[in-house]
């Protein structure tokens, strides 16, 4: 918890420094392994249960009709340049929020939840992608794999998303 001392004295008198862990939902887009903090997530949906408005194939963002609301849906495969011709069978929509506004993310597959140490999250090198660095929270290693953490706020600020938002 922020603002609270992280150092406490254990029963045997040894000083321990608890590591503030954070849970991250792992997902796949193309061959890439990505993650998003679960704190802002409020639902994971199967694409069959939702309706998205007709959208040109290569458009990054579309509108998602969900429980009477119209939410922006970012097709991460299109954004990352690894989109398949058809929606993968294990595709999911992650409902989260970017900059306080509801936001859907279409991913190829949800893989599970892992704990990461926020202190080990390093920035994405600028030269590593032609996309805006604001779209990525950073990189973190987990069991010899590198997880690319996306930034909900960065995604929510994309001009394409703003066009499909309610307000």
């Amino acid at each position: 918890m922020e603002g609270r001392t992280l150092v406490r004295r254990a029963a045997r008198g040894r000083v321990q420094t608890p590591v503030a862990r954070e849970q991250v939902l792992l997902f796949r887009v193309g061959e890439g392994l990505y993650g998003i903090g679960i704190r802002g997530l409020w639902e994971v949906l199967s694409p069959e249960g939702i309706t998205s408005l007709p959208t040109p194939q290569y458009q990054i963002c579309t509108a998602l009709a969900y429980r009477g609301r119209r939410l922006p849906l970012v097709r991460l495969g299109e954004l990352f340049g690894v989109s398949a011709d058809t929606v993968p069978p294990n595709a999911r929509v992650l409902l989260t929020q970017g900059r306080g506004q509801p936001l859907g993310l279409l991913v190829d597959e949800v893989l599970g939840v892992v704990d990461v140490d926020p202190q080990h999250i390093a920035p994405m090198p600028v030269l590593a992608s032609m996309l805006s660095p604001a779209l990525f929270r950073g990189l973190v290693g987990k069991e010899d794999r590198v997880i690319i953490l996306v930034s909900e706020d960065g995604l929510g600020e994309m001009a394409e998303v703003a066009r499909f938002s309610d307000g």
Binding site: M124, L127, S129, M130, V146
Partner: protein, 163 residues
């Protein structure tokens, strides 16, 4: 001394020369300034990053930090694949990131270039514009191209290495 005359005498620096790391790429000899090479490491498969430029292979973790890995063959438009076990130069002070990995075919050695042994390049060397070259030298009878990696990483200009 007039600037042109100074360039004609050489560009190796005012203190009597420069130390460079000599490496091979597509059968040609290149060099980068030793001071910009933090370390030479073995190649390992990078993690692919989304929407990366064609010459960027992805990222690798090195001592708790992540750095972009650039393939110099691809940057120079060389279509033929490189060796199975290339080397990676960890370059500092070039580009927007603190360090970057540069994949080259083979690192040969550190070489001292005397200031009068480094010549101002012609407009193009092996198809590379002089803007990206700090100088050319003779290394054991073969031309050596001393690259300006800082300028090379700062541009998206297509470069095609010629025979």
């Amino acid at each position: 001394m007039a600037p042109q005359a100074q360039r004609d005498r050489g560009v190796g620096g005012s203190s009597g020369g420069a130390q460079v790391v000599l490496f091979q790429l597509a059968g040609k000899s290149f060099a980068v300034e030793l001071g910009q090479v933090e370390q030479i490491i073995d190649y390992r498969e990078p993690t692919k990053t989304p929407r990366r430029p064609p010459h960027v292979e992805g990222v690798i973790e090195h001592r708790g930090r992540y750095l972009a890995v650039l393939n110099l063959r691809k940057r120079f438009g060389v279509a033929e694949p490189g060796p199975a076990h290339p080397a990676v130069l960890l370059i500092t002070g070039a580009g927007p990131d603190p360090r970057v990995g540069l994949v080259v075919d083979q690192v040969l050695r550190v070489l001292s270039l005397p200031s009068d042994g480094v010549l101002t390049p012609p407009p193009r060397v092996f198809g590379i514009r002089a803007e990206y070259i700090r100088g050319v030298a003779n290394a054991a009878g073969r031309p050596l191209v001393w690259l300006d990696v800082t300028k090379l990483l700062a541009t998206a200009e297509a470069i095609t290495l010629l025979a």
